[in-house]
C-alpha cells in the first residue's frame, strides 16, 4: 500500500473543461420531479504512472456523456451526479474511494486504467452489489468476474485474436513477453485463441526486471517461428525493439504486436515499419458517426483521440443506457439493461455478451508510416467483433 487510502472527490459534474457541458451543476434540474440525481463514481488515474491513460479515458468519458445525453448531462430528466476520484494507480486508494462512494449511496462505479485496480473494484462491486464498469484494464479476469462487473474496453484475448488473420493451420507462433501477469495472460490468451485455430503456440518469457534483450532476440531467431507475437508493456520496450532489429528478427519473420497510445509510436525505432500492429483504437480506425462525434468533441477541447478514448466514451454510453433502461436505482434492473445490449460505439458496432459481460467489439490491424518524421498509424484491416470474440469465461 502506498499508505494513502482515499484520495479526493472532485465536484459533481467533473473537473475542468467539461463541467459546463455535462451540466450536472445546473441548479434547476435538482428540482425536477424525475427524482434524485443518480450518483456515479468514476475512479481513475489522475496522477501516478498511468495518469496519461487516465486523462485519455476521462476525456473520452466527457465526449461519451455529451454524445449519449445530447449535451444535457441528464437522462430522461434525471441528473447524473458524477464524482471523479484519483486512484493514483494504487488499489488501496481505489478501494477507499469505492467504499466512500458506496457508503454515500452510489450504485454505479466506473473507471480505472490499471488491471491491478480493476480486480479490487470488481470485488467491491460484488461485495456491495453495485454496478461496476471497468475501463481500459485489459486483464481477461475482469470478464466474468461477477455479475455486477462489466467492461467498456477490450481484453487481452481480443488483442491476441486479432493476430488470427495472420496465421494459418499449422502456423508456428511464438509469444514473446515479460514474465508478469500481463505477459502470462497473453500467453494463456494466445494458447486459448490461436491453438483453437490450429496454430502451435510456444512462449518465450523474459524476467520482468531484465534490461538486456539481445540474447533473447538471438533465441527467437533460433526458434524460427512463422509469427512472433510480442506482448510488451512499459519502459523496456524501446530496448527490446532495438534488440530485435539489431539481431535481424524483423527481417527473418513476421512480427506482430499491440500498438499502444500515441506516445509509444516512437518506441519501435527501426522496427516501426517492419512490424504488423494489432490495435484497439486510433483516431482514424473507424469511419462512423459516433467516432466523428468523439474525435470532434475532443478536438474542440484541444485534445487528441487516443488509444483509450473509446473506453471512456463507451463507459458513458453504458452508464446512460443503464440509467435510461434500468432506472438508475435498482442494480439488478441496470444489469438487465446492459446484458446483451447492442449499440454503435466509436469503434463500430459493439455488443455486451450476456453470459459473461465480455464486450464484443471490432479490432484493427495497422502499420506505422513515416509522415514527415512522425510515425502515424495506417489502417490495414478491420476485424469483425465476432471474429475476435473471446471464448466465454466460465
Amino acid at each position: 500500500p502506498s499508505a494513502t487510502p482515499v484520495d479526493t472527490e472532485t465536484t459533481a459534474g467533473g473537473g475542468t473543461t467539461a463541467a459546463e457541458t455535462t451540466g450536472t451543476e445546473t441548479s434547476g434540474s435538482a428540482e425536477t420531479p424525475a427524482g434524485e440525481p443518480v450518483k456515479v463514481a468514476i475512479i481513475y488515474s489522475k496522477t501516478g504512472p498511468l495518469a496519461a491513460y487516465g486523462e485519455t479515458y476521462y476525456q473520452g468519458f466527457q465526449a461519451g456523456l455529451d454524445y449519449a445525453t445530447d449535451g444535457t448531462g441528464t437522462v430522461d430528466g434525471r441528473e447524473l451526479e458524477i464524482t471523479y476520484t484519483d486512484d493514483g494507480g494504487d488499489p488501496d486508494k481505489a478501494v477507499a474511494a469505492a467504499k466512500e462512494a458506496i457508503g454515500n449511496g452510489t450504485k454505479i462505479m466506473g473507471g480505472t486504467v490499471s488491471s491491478g485496480v480493476a480486480g479490487p473494484l470488481a470485488e467491491q462491486a460484488e461485495q456491495n452489489k453495485v454496478l461496476y464498469i471497468s475501463g481500459p484494464a485489459a486483464a481477461d479476469a475482469i470478464t466474468g468476474a461477477n455479475r455486477y462487473t462489466f467492461r467498456s474496453g477490450r481484453q487481452s484475448l481480443q488483442d491476441v485474436a486479432t493476430t488470427s488473420g495472420q496465421i494459418s493451420e499449422g502456423s508456428n507462433v511464438l509469444v514473446f513477453a515479460q514474465n508478469n501477469a500481463f505477459g502470462q495472460g497473453n500467453v494463456a490468451a494466445a494458447k486459448a485463441v490461436l491453438e483453437a485455430k490450429g496454430a502451435t503456440v510456444t512462449e518465450l518469457l523474459v524476467p520482468e526486471a531484465e534490461t538486456e534483450f539481445t540474447p533473447f532476440a538471438a533465441r527467437i531467431l533460433d526458434a524460427k517461428p512463422d509469427l512472433v507475437f510480442v506482448a510488451w508493456a512499459g519502459a523496456t520496450s524501446g530496448a527490446m525493439w532495438q534488440a530485435l532489429s539489431q539481431q535481424g528478427v524483423l527481417e527473418s519473420t513476421n512480427v506482430m504486436t499491440d500498438l499502444g497510445d500515441i506516445s509509444t509510436y516512437g518506441a519501435y525505432g527501426e522496427a516501426s515499419d517492419k512490424v504488423n500492429f494489432l490495435n484497439h483504437y486510433f483516431a482514424g480506425a473507424a469511419d462512423n458517426e459516433v467516432n466523428q462525434a468523439l474525435v470532434s468533441y475532443l478536438e474542440e477541447g484541444g485534445h487528441k483521440a487516443d488509444l483509450f478514448s473509446p473506453d471512456g466514451f463507451v463507459a458513458a454510453q453504458m452508464i446512460v443506457q443503464a440509467v435510461r433502461e434500468g432506472g438508475g436505482d435498482d442494480v439488478e434492473e441496470m444489469i438487465a439493461a446492459l446484458e446483451g445490449w447492442e449499440f454503435d460505439a466509436p469503434k463500430g458496432p459493439q455488443q455486451i455478451r450476456a453470459s459473461d459481460h465480455a464486450m464484443i467489439q471490432p479490432m484493427f490491424v495497422v502499420k506505422l508510416k513515416d509522415e514527415g518524421g512522425q510515425w502515424v498509424p495506417e489502417l490495414v484491416e478491420t476485424m469483425d467483433g465476432a471474429d475476435v470474440a473471446p471464448p466465454e469465461a466460465a
Partner: protein
C-alpha cells in the same frame, strides 16, 4: 558458441553500467559513510539533461552523443555538489540522518521529474553507429556495449589514481574516520567531501547518459531501477572498495545475464549470491574487515 559470446559481452556491458553507478555509491559510502539513496536521481537528471542536449545537437550524431555525455557528467556533478552542500553537510557525522535525507531527496526528485517530464518513458534515437552491431565469432554485439565498457574502465582508472596518488585522496580517507581531527590538523575537510560527492555525481551522470542509450529511454524511474542492483554490487564488492565494486559489477551482471537466459531467475540468483557472500564474507569480496 555465439550465444555464449553474446551473453558475455552483453553481460560485460551491463556490468559496466552497474559499475558506473556503483563506483560513485561505493566512493561516497566508503569515504563519507553516506549510503546515497539519491544516487539514482543524479543518474536520472543527467540522463534527462543528456537527452535534451543530445536532441538539440542531433539525435543521431556523435556530436550529440558525446555532447550528451559531457552535459550528463556536468549536471550529475553539479546536482551532487549542491546536494552535498545543502543537505549532507549540515548533517556531518550523523550517518543515519544523512541516509534518511537522501531517501527524502530521492522521493522528492523522482516526483519532481515526473512533474516536469511526465511519468512515461521517453524513447530516444541513438546515433547510427551506436545502434549498429559488430560481429564477433558469429555474435552480433551492439556497439554501445563497447562504449559503455570503455567508459567504465576509464572511470575506474581515474578514480584509483585520484584516491591513491593525490593529497585529496589522503584527506578524504582520513576524513571518513575522524572529521574533526582532520580539521584539527588545519585542513578544511568539507571541501574534500564536497569533491567526493561531485565525483560520485559525475560518474553517475556518465552512467545515466549511457544507461539511457543502453535501455533506449529516459524516465523518472531510470535511476531507481539501476540503484538496487548497484547497492547489491556495492555490498558484494565490499563497501568502499572500488576494485571490489568493479569485480562485483562484472560478476553480478554476468551471473544475472546467464541465469536469466538459461533459467529465467537472474534476480533470485543475484539475491542468493548476496546472501552467500554476506554469510561467508560479511565485509564483501574486497571490503576491509570490520571497519
Amino acid at each position: 558458441m555465439s550465444t555464449l559470446i553474446l551473453l558475455t559481452f552483453t553481460g560485460l556491458g551491463l556490468g559496466a553500467l552497474y559499475f558506473l553507478v556503483a563506483s560513485g555509491l561505493s566512493l561516497i559510502y566508503g569515504l563519507m559513510g553516506v549510503l546515497n539513496f539519491a544516487h539514482g536521481s543524479f543518474l536520472t537528471l543527467s540522463a534527462f539533461a543528456g537527452f535534451e542536449v543530445g536532441r538539440r545537437l542531433g539525435a543521431g550524431t556523435f556530436t550529440g552523443f558525446f555532447g550528451s555525455i559531457l552535459v550528463g557528467a556536468v549536471v550529475g556533478g553539479i546536482f551532487a555538489a549542491v546536494t552535498e552542500l545543502l543537505l549532507i553537510r549540515p548533517l556531518y557525522k550523523r550517518h543515519i540522518e544523512q541516509l534518511l535525507v537522501t531517501v527524502g531527496l530521492s522521493l522528492a526528485t523522482v516526483a519532481l521529474f515526473e512533474g516536469i517530464w511526465g511519468p512515461d518513458p521517453i524513447f530516444l534515437d541513438s546515433s547510427g553507429w551506436l545502434r549498429e552491431t559488430t560481429e564477433i565469432l558469429g555474435a552480433r554485439i551492439p556497439n554501445d556495449r563497447f562504449v559503455t565498457i570503455l567508459a567504465a574502465i576509464l572511470v575506474l582508472g581515474g578514480l584509483v589514481l585520484f584516491l591513491n596518488k593525490t593529497r585529496y585522496g589522503l584527506i578524504i580517507r582520513a576524513g571518513v574516520e575522524n572529521r574533526s581531527m582532520v580539521t584539527a590538523l588545519g585542513i578544511d575537510v568539507r571541501r574534500a567531501f564536497t569533491l567526493v560527492f561531485t565525483i560520485g555525481g559525475i560518474a553517475a551522470g556518465i552512467g545515466g547518459v549511457l544507461a539511457s542509450h543502453f535501455f533506449g529511454y529516459v524516465s523518472p524511474l531510470l535511476g531507481g531501477s539501476l540503484l538496487i542492483f548497484a547497492f547489491i554490487v556495492t555490498v558484494i564488492g565490499g563497501m568502499g572498495s572500488l576494485a571490489g565494486a568493479a569485480i562485483a559489477s562484472v560478476l553480478v551482471a554476468l551471473l544475472q545475464q546467464f541465469a536469466n537466459f538459461y533459467l529465467g531467475i537472474g534476480d533470485f540468483i543475484v539475491v542468493l549470491l548476496l546472501g552467500v557472500v554476506l554469510l561467508v564474507r560479511p565485509q564483501g569480496l574486497l571490503g576491509k574487515a570490520a571497519a
